[in-house]
Symmetry: C2
Subunit: 552 residues, 2 copies
C-alpha cells in the first residue's frame, strides 16, 4: 500500500516563508546587522500576524530594547501574536496586548505584573495559554510551541554574527536552538559590536538579525539580599534547618531559592555550621544563582562547585577570581545556563528549599493569591520528587520507607517560612486562593506551586516537621499543625498531640535539636551588611548602587 503520488506537496514551506521575509528585510540589513533606529520597521517586515514569538525575559535578564521596539510596531501590520515568555516583567510586555499586537500568552512567571495579567485576562485582552515551569516551557519549544520568531539579548556580537552572552547566558541558547533549527527567525539585541569576542557562546549560523541596542539590556540584581534585613526569627529558622535537615540527612547538593530565609542559612554556614563541624560534610555542590550572601561560605572553603541559572549584578569580578568554584569560559567570565541548571536542579541535587505565601493544612502551597496570577518560575520543577531518578545519595536514601519491597529514596523538598506573613496573616489556610483564581481565570487546574505529597520537611520558627515520616494525610496535617504556632491551624492542636509527634520524631522543636532560641542573634551572621560581603570578597564584589545606599 504505497502512497498516492498525486498528493505531492512542498516540504519547504517554512524555509521558503523565512527566505521571503528575510528578502523583504534585506534593504535594512548590512550582513546580519540592522541599524538601531530601523528596528521597528524590520520587526514589521519580519513578523507576521499570528506568529508565535518567544521574547526573552526571565526573572533577571530582559531583551528590553526589542520588547520596547515590539510595543511600537504598527498594530495594523503586526497583530494577534502568540507570545511565549518565561517572565512577564516589564510594562511593555503587557502594552503589546493592550495594543492588539499580541493576544495570546504562554508564560512561566509574572511576579511584578501579576495583578495586571489577571486584570487583562478578565477584560478579554489576553487569552491565556498555560502557566508553566521554565523547563516544561523550554520543552514545548521543541514540540508544540515551536517559535516562528525569537527576540533575544546578548552582550556582544562580532561582524560574522557570533554571540557572546557573558555571565548571563541564561536561556538564550535554548530559545535560539528551538527557533533557528526549525526555520524560524532569530533576532538578537546586543550591547555592542566588537572585532573579537572574548569567547563564542552561540555560533553565527544560528542567528539571522542583530541590532546594537540603544541601551544595554535590563538586568535585575534579583538575588542580592542585604544581610541588614535578616531578622532573628530568620536566623532561628536557619539554625533549625542546618541542624534538623542539612546535618541530619547529610545534604551534599542543593538549590536555594531567592529570599532572606535562605540567605540566613548561607551566612550561618561559616559560623554556626562551622561550630557543628559540618564543613566538607554538607552543602558542597550547588545549583544556584551567584548569591552575594554565598561569599563568606565560599571564602571559608565550604563550597566545591556552583552551577548557575544566570548571573548576578556586581558578582562578575568575584566570580572570575574564583574559577575553582564557578563554571567559567576560557575568557574567565561566568557561563550560566538556565536550562541545564534547571535540569540539574531537578534531577541531580539532594534538596530544594523554598518559601510560599500560602500553605493549606495538607501542605499544598501556592504563591498565586487572590487577584494575582504570578506563576512559579522554576519552583515546581525543583520542588517535586522526580520519579525518573534512579541514582542514590545518602540524603535521598534517608527518605526511604524501608517496609516497601521496591524501596526507593526521595528528593528533599523543604518549605521554610514564618507562621505569619506581612500584615499578620497566617500562612496556613484552610483553602488555597489558587482554587478560586483557577475558576476566575478559567484555568484547567488550580495553580499549585508545590503539592503536599512532595514536601518532605516544613520549617517554621516553631520547629521542623518531618513530613516524609508521616503515613497518612491525616498524620501529615497533624505534623503541619504542630509547627503552625498560634495560627488557627496550630491552635486547634492539643499539647498531647504535639508530644506524641515529638516522641515519634515526626516533629522537632529547637530544644530537641540542641538550639537555644536566645542564640539566634544577628551577631551569628558571617556578614551583617553588604559592606561586610565586600570585605569578605577581598573587594572583588561590586554591589549595585541600590545596595550601596545602605552604607552609612
Amino acid at each position: 500500500m504505497i502512497q498516492n503520488s498525486n498528493l505531492k506537496r512542498s516540504w519547504t514551506t517554512r524555509r521558503d516563508e523565512k527566505n521571503e521575509r528575510m528578502q523583504k528585510a534585506d534593504p535594512h540589513l548590512e550582513g546580519k546587522y540592522v541599524a538601531t533606529d530601523h528596528i521597528t520597521e524590520v520587526l514589521e517586515t519580519l513578523i507576521q500576524p499570528k506568529d508565535r514569538v518567544v521574547l526573552e525575559g526571565n526573572n533577571q535578564k530582559q531583551a528590553s530594547f526589542l520588547s520596547t521596539a515590539l510595543a511600537s510596531v504598527n498594530s495594523d501590520i503586526v497583530k494577534e501574536l502568540h507570545m511565549i515568555m518565561s517572565s512577564i516583567s516589564r510594562p511593555e510586555h503587557l502594552d503589546i496586548f493592550e495594543k492588539g499586537i499580541a493576544n495570546r500568552i504562554d508564560f512561566a512567571f509574572a511576579g511584578p505584573q501579576s495583578l495586571r495579567v489577571a486584570q487583562m485576562i478578565d477584560d478579554g485582552q489576553m487569552e491565556m495559554g498555560n502557566i508553566h515551569t521554565y523547563l516544561e516551557l523550554y520543552g514545548r519549544l521543541f514540540i508544540d510551541l515551536i517559535p516562528s520568531i525569537a527576540l533575544v539579548a546578548a552582550d556582544k556580537a562580532d561582524e560574522a554574527g557570533n554571540l557572546y552572552t557573558g555571565a548571563n547566558t541564561e536561556e538564550t541558547p535554548t530559545i535560539i536552538e528551538a527557533t533557528a533549527f526549525r526555520q524560524g527567525i532569530v533576532i538578537v539585541q546586543v550591547n555592542e559590536q566588537v572585532e573579537e569576542l572574548p569567547r563564542v557562546d552561540i555560533p553565527a549560523s544560528w542567528v539571522d538579525v542583530i541590532v546594537v541596542a540603544k541601551d544595554p539590556y535590563q538586568l535585575e540584581a534579583l538575588f542580592t539580599r542585604n544581610p541588614r534585613h535578616i531578622s532573628e526569627i530568620q536566623i532561628l529558622m536557619a539554625m533549625i534547618t542546618i541542624r534538623g535537615v542539612y546535618e541530619k540527612h547529610q545534604v551534599q547538593s542543593l538549590n536555594h531559592g531567592i529570599g532572606f530565609n535562605t540567605a540566613a542559612i548561607e551566612l550561618l554556614l561559616p559560623t554556626y555550621g562551622e561550630s557543628l563541624g559540618l564543613r566538607g560534610k554538607i552543602c558542597q555542590h550547588w545549583a544556584v544563582n551567584p548569591h552575594p550572601t554565598l561569599i563568606p561560605a565560599i571564602e571559608s572553603g565550604w563550597i566545591d562547585s556552583i552551577h548557575c541559572f544566570g548571573g548576578e549584578r556586581g558578582m562578575e569580578e568575584y566570580i572570575s577570581a574564583r574559577s575553582d568554584v564557578f563554571f567559567l569560559g576560557r575568557d574567565g567570565t561566568l557561563r550560566s545556563n538556565r536550562t541545564l541548571s534547571q535540569m540539574a536542579g531537578q534531577y541531580a541535587v539532594d534538596l530544594f528549599i523554598g518559601s510560599t505565601l500560602q500553605m493549606d493544612y495538607e501542605g499544598n502551597s501556592s504563591t498565586v493569591t487572590k487577584g494575582r496570577l504570578a506563576g512559579f518560575g522554576g519552583a515546581p520543577n525543583m520542588g517535586h520528587d522526580p520519579k525518573g531518578r534512579r541514582h542514590s545519595t545518602p540524603a535521598w536514601l534517608d527518605m526511604m520507607k524501608p517496609e516497601e519491597t521496591l524501596v526507593r529514596g526521595k528528593k528533599l523538598v523543604v518549605q521554610m517560612m514564618e507562621t505569619h506573613q506581612q500584615g499578620n496573616n497566617p500562612v496556613f489556610v484552610e483553602r488555597l486562593d489558587a482554587i478560586d483564581v483557577a475558576k476566575e481565570a478559567n484555568l484547567d487546574i488550580p495553580p499549585v506551586m508545590i503539592y503536599g505529597e512532595d514536601v518532605t520537611h516544613l520549617v517554621t520558627e516553631e520547629g521542623v516537621a518531618y513530613l516524609y515520616k508521616t503515613n497518612s494525610i491525616a498524620e501529615r496535617k497533624e505534623a503541619i499543625a504542630a509547627v503552625a504556632g498560634v495560627t488557627p491551624a496550630g491552635q486547634e492542636q492539643s499539647l498531647k498531640q504535639k508530644e506524641r509527634l515529638r516522641s515519634q520524631g515526626i516533629v522537632a522543636y529547637p530544644e530537641d535539636l540542641g538550639i537555644r532560641r536566645s542564640d539566634a542573634k544577628r551577631s551569628l551572621l558571617a556578614a551583617q551588611s553588604v559592606e561586610d560581603l565586600v570585605t569578605w570578597s577581598d573587594d572583588l564584589y561590586d554591589p549595585p548602587q541600590q545596595f550601596r545606599s545602605y552604607w552609612s
Copy 2:
C-alpha cells in the same frame, strides 16, 4: 565576623592543573590538532590517575577511536579512572576495567554488555557508582560528577577547532559544556578536518584537542525496524493502541521507543488510522528518533514536527528533504540534541509508550533480569508522571480524577507487550528479577524501569487495561490480570471479575473497541518491507547494507 586572612588559598587550582597538562602535551599539538598515531601518548600525558572521564557513547554514536586509544594506554601511567558513560556498548569499554585503567563506573545503559558488566562487578574489577537515566546523568555532570576529561566525537572540525556534529549532535554539546567550563580538558575525535564547516555546532573555544580518527566514529542503525518482521499479533496490539489509547484520549504529542510494537503503530497510522479519520487529530508532534517506519506517516501528512535525540543511518537525505518536519540547520542537515529531546520527552509530550521484559502483578517493570545489568537509557525519564508539570493538554486532563479538590492531569505512560516473551515465558511475574539483582550487585535500590503507579495503560494482545482508572493497588492488579491472557496471573482471574472490569470501562477487549481480530493482517501495514519504505520516501531513504540483504 570577617574571614581570617591567614586562610589564603589559590582559587585557580583547576585552571593551573589544566595549563600544566596542556603544556606537557604541547610538543604533540599543532594548534588544537594531534597526529592520529600520537593519540595514545597524548592521552597518557593529559589524563591523570583517578580522573573523572566522560567517554561519549550513547546507544547510537560512539567515540570509538578514542575509546580504543584509551584501552591501549599504559596502565601504570593512567589508572583508577572514574568513567562516566551514557552507554557501555563496545568491548573496549570493559577492557579498560580489566586492565586497571579504570575502576569505577557511572552509566545509564549497558544493553550489549550487560552480562559482562554484572560479571565484572561480581569479580570486583568494576566498582559500581549508579545506574542513571540519561537526563539525571547529564545533570550530575554539573553538580557532583563534574568531569576532568571529555572524550567525544564529531563529524568535522575546521582549523580553528569549531565542530560540526552533523545529524548526530546527540549528547556532545552537553558533555563538552560541563567539561570545558570547569577547566576540564575536551578531546574530540573527528572524521575529517575541513576548510569550511557546513555549520558550527560547537564553538572552537570550548575544545582543547582534536584528532582525526583512523575510521569514522561507530554509528548504529539502532532505530531501524524491518517491517517484514512485524507480526499479526503486533498489528493487533497496534490497532488496540490507536483506537483504545491514542484516539480515546486525543494524544497529540508523544514519544515512541525502539521496537516492532511501536513500528507497527507507525505503519498503521496512514491505513487504519486514516480509516478512523484521525489524521490531523492525533500524533502531530513527536520527540523521537528518525525512525524509517515513520516515513509513510510523514508522507501522508500526519506529522507536523519531529524533534530527535539522535540521527539514524540512511535517513540523512530524506530528513534534509523534509525540512517542514525535522529540525535542520541552515546547511540542511538534521540537528539532534539528546538532552533537549529528553527534556521535551519528559515534560512536553502527552504520551510515552514502551515495552519491558518483566512486569510484576502490580505493574512495576524492569528490563534488568537475572545476570544482566542493562540499565534503562531514557525510559524512566520519559516513562513517569513529571510532577513539576503545570501546563495542560486534552490527553493529560483526561487522566484527571475529578473527585479531588486540587485536580490535575497525568502523563500517559503506556506499556505494550505480548503476554509471553521469547521462549514462551510469561512477561508477568510475581517478583521482578531486579530485586535479587540489586542484592547481588550491592545496589542501594532495585533497578526498576517504570513503577506501577506511573503506568496509565497496559496493552497486550488481549486488550487494554486503563490502569489510571483504578482506585487501589488491588484493583490495579485485577486490571493487569484481565489482560494477562493465559499466563498464571491471567488464569487466576474469573470470567466474572473480567466482566465487572469491562462493564466499568477499566479494561476493553478488541470487540469493545470495534476491532475484529481477523482484520489484524500484514496487508494493513503501510509498508511491508524496507523496500516499501524506500519507495514511500521517493528513494531518499538509503537503508544500511544489513537491511538491504532482506530484499530479494
